[in-house]
């Protein structure tokens, strides 16, 4: 039967050719190029000299790269706790029948996730601004004006401060994903458990979480992948500073390659980012699989 709809091979080939060329050209060719140039000493000019694995040895000892990697992990953890955790709590509240204007919460809450990270970065830069920022204005309002400071210059707080916009931006997104997962649970289960005397917390722990586990794991995967590539809003807010206190991997690779014109080492960093991100993403996938098979 299938042969009736099977077109000639050259027709299939013709249809597949352009998309695959596009895709291979923009994804695999750059990867190969990076792998190739990572073995060269190349400062962006016409001169390239082969220097073997020297770039990689430098990378292994490059404390800034590892610090950036740590910051990516920080963002991942902050996002899993802040985004998925808060989103889950908000969803429980929305589902508790106590809350009015559910549609508005959905529409407004989701809104920030549709805005460019660059704009989000700008908005929060204005919030953190020393003289004209909303945060210091608020501190003055509650009579705590002496706590005001140049927020994004604070080495100890800067990672927390740049992760707040990121977490805030995507809460609504995860909220809607979790909401739609819960709405597919049979209502009878809740009614029966209520009759059995289960309270809201027990329902959440013993009914909702096990039943939407797969959705929650999808959320974790999205969180990990999304935060390993953090770049835009940190570029806008701090450019990785003060010092390297809010540097992330993609931004570091960018700085080395373009600000310092060190394309050879920049390529090695790109390969490093590739491997590090892949390991973290694959590692989470592995844990996710393990968790879902256990239960």
């Amino acid at each position: 039967m299938l042969s009736a709809i099977r077109p000639k091979s050259r027709v299939i080939f013709g249809y597949l050719l352009i998309p695959i060329v596009f895709y291979v050209f923009a994804v695999f060719v750059p990867l190969m190029t990076a792998a190739f140039f990572s073995f060269f000493n190349w400062k962006g000019g016409p001169n390239k000299t082969f220097n073997g694995v020297e770039n990689y040895l430098t990378l292994l000892k490059d404390s800034v790269f590892w610090q950036s990697f740590g910051h990516n992990i920080y963002l991942v953890v902050a996002s899993i706790i802040g985004q998925i955790g808060l989103a889950f709590i908000f969803v429980l509240i929305i589902n508790s029948k106590l809350v009015k204007f559910k549609g508005i919460h959905r529409t407004f809450g989701f809104f920030p996730s549709t805005i460019a990270a660059v704009s989000i970065g700008f908005i929060w830069t204005m919030i953190y601004d020393y003289k004209r920022g909303l945060l210091n204005w608020f501190l003055a309002l509650i009579g705590n004006a002496e706590a005001a400071k140049v927020w994004l210059n604070d080495e100890k707080l800067v990672m927390l401060l740049v992760s707040i916009p990121l977490v805030w931006q995507w809460i609504g997104y995860y909220m809607v994903i979790i909401l739609s997962a819960i709405s597919s649970i049979d209502k009878e289960i809740f009614e029966v458990s209520e009759l059995d005397g289960a309270n809201a917390v027990q329902q959440a722990l013993h009914i909702i979480i096990p039943l939407i586990k797969n959705t929650l794991l999808v959320c974790v995967t999205l969180c990990v992948a999304g935060n390993m590539k953090a770049f835009d809003h940190i570029w806008v807010m701090t450019k990785g500073g003060p010092g390297n206190e809010s540097m992330v991997m993609a931004l570091y690779g960018y700085n080395i390659s373009f600000a310092q014109q060190n394309m050879g080492y920049g390529s090695a960093i790109s390969v490093g980012i590739f491997i590090a991100s892949l390991l973290v993403i694959a590692g989470t996938q592995f844990i996710v699989k393990l968790v879902s098979e256990k239960n």
Partner: protein, 292 residues
């Protein structure tokens, strides 16, 4: 026994749902969150109607005599290229979307339906694309594009945007096509419809819902994409919206109302799009995320 038990439990849950303190606390918490999501937009809107001097004196108050001067300034000053950047973003986004939907549809359909040697290999190649950390391509893509002299052109950004979106588009379409009964195509083939005709006039319309989902997700990622635009576009006349915003980081950091006016102009198309189609957009994004 059982009766008593249910009654007690019923009482408990009703006292829970009628608790006024919880009611206020829960509603208040969600209100604060929802307001925080929308307040920046409102704050930027009315602040953009203030002059810099007025804004610096009072950052939160409503403007006493609203002025359009920031908007006039941003739009008429040729150095900012704000209007051009909106056009560039429109062009890049629309062409990318058309190609993503077209390519995603064709590849997804062929991989789902037609057996040929290499089908699974191509599938695996696209599967890898979902896992590849795209941001590690930032520097190498610049090297490749620059050496082929295709960086910094009007079409430059379309290439990575289409390529990066293809894996997810292919998967969504492939999964969707598998749920369509194959008898449609068989009937069409028996009636003498060519492959191309079946593909576009029979399968195409049936795939509309999933293609709409793909288009919605990618509208936002193309319009908002920043890092590859930053690396690949140097000419201010070619920059997209997120890139146009960054020119305000250094030189005008003190003139917030002007930055806000520029931001609102560049955000406007996507904000209007969102609030008109919010229900479809939310559903589409969620469907894409969960299935992808």
């Amino acid at each position: 026994m059982a009766n008593e038990y249910t009654r007690v439990a019923g009482k408990k849950s009703s006292s829970f749902t009628n608790n006024p303190i919880l009611f206020i606390f829960f509603n208040g918490m969600l209100m604060i969150f929802s307001l925080s999501c929308i307040f920046p937009l409102i704050w930027m809107f009315y602040s953009s109607l203030k002059e810099k001097r007025v804004f610096n004196a009072d950052i939160i108050g409503l403007p006493k005599d609203p002025t359009m001067s920031n908007y006039v300034n941003v739009l008429t000053n040729k150095d900012y290229h704000i209007f051009e950047s909106v056009l560039n973003s429109f062009r890049t986004t629309i062409i990318s979307l058309v190609l993503i939907v077209l390519f995603g549809f064709i590849v997804g359909y062929i991989l789902a339906r037609i057996e040929f040697p290499g089908n699974r290999l191509i599938y695996a190649i696209f599967l890898m694309g979902v896992l590849i950390p795209i941001h590690s391509l930032l520097v190498p893509i610049y090297v490749v594009f620059n050496s082929l002299d295709i960086a910094n052109k009007w079409y430059t950004l379309i290439i990575p945007y289409v390529s990066f979106a293809l894996p997810i588009a292919v998967f969504l379409v492939e999964g969707y096509v598998k749920s369509i009964p194959i008898s449609m195509e068989e009937a069409a083939a028996i009636d003498g419809s060519s492959f191309t005709r079946t593909l576009f006039s029979i399968i195409g319309p049936m795939c509309k819902p999933i293609l709409a989902t793909v288009a919605i997700i990618q509208t936002f990622s193309c319009w908002n994409e920043f890092s590859f635009a930053l690396v690949l576009i140097k000419d201010v006349g070619l920059q997209t919206v997120p890139l146009a915003m960054t020119q305000f980081t250094g030189q005008f950091t003190s003139d917030y109302p002007k930055i806000m006016a520029a931001m609102l102009i560049t955000m406007m198309p996507i904000v209007i799009f969102y609030f008109i189609f919010s229900r479809q957009i939310i559903e589409g994004m969620v469907a894409g995320a969960v299935k992808g």
